[in-house]
Symmetry: C2
Subunit: 84 residues, 2 copies
C-alpha cells in the first residue's frame, strides 16, 4: 500500500449560475481589474489516499466525491493522482 | 488582446491548521473511507483575463490574488494560464 497525493477540483456546473463567482467578478472590477470575466469559484482539495495502485487511489477519490465532496446536482469534479 | 483562461488555486498554508480539511477528513472516515489522511481544502477559481500575452495574464492574475483572492497571512496560491 502506498500513500498517493490526490488533487480534487470541484466546480459549479457550467450551465448553472455561480453567485460566488459573480460576486468575485464584481469585486475585481471595482478594484480596477476590468479585464476579467467569466469568474467561477469552486473547491480544491488535497488528500493522501492509501491504495495499492494509482488507479485504485483515483477510484476511491471519485467514490469520495460521489458520497461527500461534490454535489451531483450542481457540481462537477476532476480527480488527479500525484506521486505515490 | 486575447482572452486567456486562468486557473487559480488558493490553499491554506502548510504550517497552519485547516479546520475545514479536518472536518472533511472526519466525515470521510465516518463514511468508511479510512484510507484518507491529510485532507486540506482550498479554493479553485477559473477566470478569463484579457491580456496581450500569457505572461501579462499571469501577472494580472497574481495581482488579483494579492489584492483580493488570497489572504497573504493564511493562504498560498498558484496561477496557471491556459490557452488563449
Amino acid at each position: 500500500m502506498t500513500a498517493y497525493r490526490v488533487e480534487v477540483r470541484v466546480m459549479p456546473r457550467a450551465a448553472l449560475l455561480d453567485p460566488q463567482g459573480q460576486a468575485v467578478e464584481h469585486a475585481l472590477h471595482a478594484l480596477g481589474f476590468g479585464e476579467v470575466a467569466r469568474v467561477r469559484v469552486g473547491k480544491h482539495l488535497l488528500l493522501d489516499v492509501e491504495a495499492a495502485s494509482r488507479d485504485e487511489a483515483a477510484a476511491r477519490a471519485r467514490a469520495m466525491c460521489d458520497r461527500l465532496l461534490a454535489n451531483p446536482v450542481t457540481e462537477d469534479f476532476d480527480v488527479a493522482v500525484g506521486t505515490g
